[in-house]
């Protein structure tokens, strides 16, 4: 049981997510799915000199996945690819500071996993 999982700050980000939408001019375009529940997220990123200057997402997902995406994208916007690559899953949890039960870890990390995958794919295709 999680008393603080739906704390107000998370609900705020769910209701009014930051960075919500799809970029038409983008360098990274990635979707990620949570196979255990079928939730999906779509992230688009515009790069300038290896910096994530614009980041947007849309999702078909639960409160947790959506709120964490909002938090996470706000955190990485403006950072360089290198900086983003250094972020760990633990950092993502610290960012929000709520306790996430085991069954919801995948939801909370959906956006993080999407961004990691997008950057990986970007690096491979650009090399």
């Amino acid at each position: 049981m999680q008393d603080n999982l739906y704390k107000e700050i998370i609900l705020e980000h769910w209701r009014y997510p930051l960075h919500f939408g799809i970029l038409s001019n983008k360098d990274i375009d990635v979707t990620e799915q949570n196979y255990s529940c079928g939730d999906t997220i779509h992230v688009t990123i515009k790069l300038q000199q290896k910096r994530l200057v614009q980041v947007l997402f849309t999702s078909e997902s639960c409160v947790i996945a959506k709120a964490y995406a909002s938090f996470f994208l706000d955190f990485i916007k403006g950072k360089t690819i290198q900086e983003v690559e250094k972020i760990s899953a633990k950092d993502v949890f610290n960012l929000v500071g709520a306790e996430v039960s085991t069954s919801r870890v995948k939801c909370a990390l959906l956006c993080y996993n999407a961004v990691c995958k997008g950057i990986r794919e970007y690096i491979i295709t650009k090399q």
Partner: protein, 414 residues
């Protein structure tokens, strides 16, 4: 026993978990049932009093263990009205039981181009083995579509441009773990007969056994699979029942000890059924525990359980139907279903429904319920699911309904 004597409060007292968590509303019995003390005690006693390996020892302790293990086979056989105790094979679970039929029987007897009929509501346990066989030998799979209430539209096979003479297997769930719908197995069988074909009938009875009487002779099926853990028994034990003449021609999944007769450097011979399919040391305490679960169900009476669960299900159905914010899946008519209710609430994800209910100690499942094909048909990502068992009380349902109001307020606040 009259249903009027059925007292869920007394039954609930048999389940130690509810003593530990008196406040718990457990509505996930379709995933796994809770266990009565009679089952727990039996498993405990196996270790404390009867622990030896089965089918091996000459000493009396081992003989006693073997006897208890084999008594469970008798008990299962009589519970599902099998004609022959040797038609009962102990497996790990329903998944393994179905895989055994597919690998042991279907792979040997089906050919490229043969048709296996499934339905859009099948659990992955009854999909993946067939998809693998399709890759392996080129069988064709037909998925019977469903109507808006989740009823099978099996007549659509006639318009599907299939050579129906090629239909060799019909493998269906008896009761859907998502929609709660009871499939008319016998009707479907006679539909095929009336078109001059007699495919083998395989039934996934995981959600049926223990909730409604299951009679393999009356169902006229060839194979039937189910799991102990969904019928008050221990986990790690499943059953495959099959017609003797079919089982006798089948290959086991695993070759090894106990499943053989003569072993030489060059060759070996298989044991007779059921030993052939039970290699190695089985889940002894689990199988013996299953016998205790069956005794418990029999003591109350499956008909009584069925009647009681129907009353509770009817109550849920009526309430959920009256709530405008709930989108309930499956039949609206109680006669066609059991107490498994999947639903969605527009504007809120099923995970969040489950999590908000959990704040009030109400356990429901959220997800695709191992039925991704059905989710695609229904055009939903996931659903929330509440499912009942013989210990579910009206108070549990009332608490659940209060919880749903809270979920509703959660979205309207947003």
């Amino acid at each position: 026993m009259q249903t009027t004597l059925y007292n869920p409060e007394i039954i609930k007292k048999d389940f130690p978990l509810f003593k530990k968590y008196p406040d718990l509303v457990y509505l996930d019995s379709a995933a796994t049932s809770q266990k009565p003390v009679q089952v727990i005690r039996t498993v405990d006693e196996v270790y404390k009093k009867n622990n030896a390996n089965v089918h091996r020892g000459i000493y009396s302790l081992a003989e006693k263990t073997t006897e208890l293990y084999e008594q469970s086979r008798d008990s299962v056989a009589s519970f599902i009205h099998a004609r022959d105790r040797n038609e009962v094979i102990f497996t790990k679970n329903t998944n393994e039981s179905i895989q055994l039929v597919v690998s042991g029987w279907a792979k040997k007897n089906l050919h490229k181009g043969d048709i296996v009929v499934l339905s859009e509501m099948e659990h992955h346990a009854n999909v993946i083995p067939w998809l693998r066989l399709k890759e392996e030998i080129g069988i064709f799979l037909f998925f019977i579509p469903i109507d808006n209430d989740g009823r099978l539209l099996h007549r659509s096979i006639l318009t599907a441009k299939l050579n129906i003479k090629k239909i060799k297997v019909v493998s269906l769930t008896y009761v859907s773990n998502v929609l709660g719908v009871i499939n008319p197995i016998k009707k479907i069988k006679s539909f095929f007969s009336s078109h001059g074909i007699s495919p083998k009938i395989i039934i996934d009875a995981a959600q049926a056994v223990g909730h409604i009487p299951v009679d393999v002779v009356n169902l006229q099926c060839d194979f039937l699979a189910f799991s102990s853990h969904k019928m008050l028994g221990p986990s790690g034990v499943g059953v495959l029942w099959g017609k003797k003449e079919l089982l006798e021609t089948m290959d086991p999944l695993i070759g090894g000890s106990h499943s053989i007769q003569v072993v030489k450097k060059e060759s070996f011979t298989w044991a007779t059924i059921p030993d052939r399919f039970e290699p190695g040391t089985p889940n002894i305490e689990g199988v013996i525990g299953l016998n205790a679960a069956i005794s418990y169900l029999k003591k109350i009476g499956v008909e009584n359980i069925q009647q009681y669960e129907e009353r509770i299900a009817e109550y849920i159905l009526e309430k959920l139907n009256s709530l405008a914010y709930i989108k309930l899946l499956g039949p609206k008519n109680i006669q066609e279903r059991l107490g498994i209710f999947s639903f969605t609430i527009p504007g809120i994800h099923p995970h969040d429904i489950a999590q908000i209910l959990d704040e009030d100690n109400i356990c429901v499942r959220a997800g695709n319920h191992c039925a991704q094909i059905l989710m695609e048909t229904l055009q939903v990502h996931a659903t929330a699911r509440a499912s009942i068992s013989l210990y579910t009380t009206k108070e549990d349902i009332d608490r659940f309904l209060v919880g749903l109001e809270k979920v509703k307020n959660f979205i309207s606040k947003s």
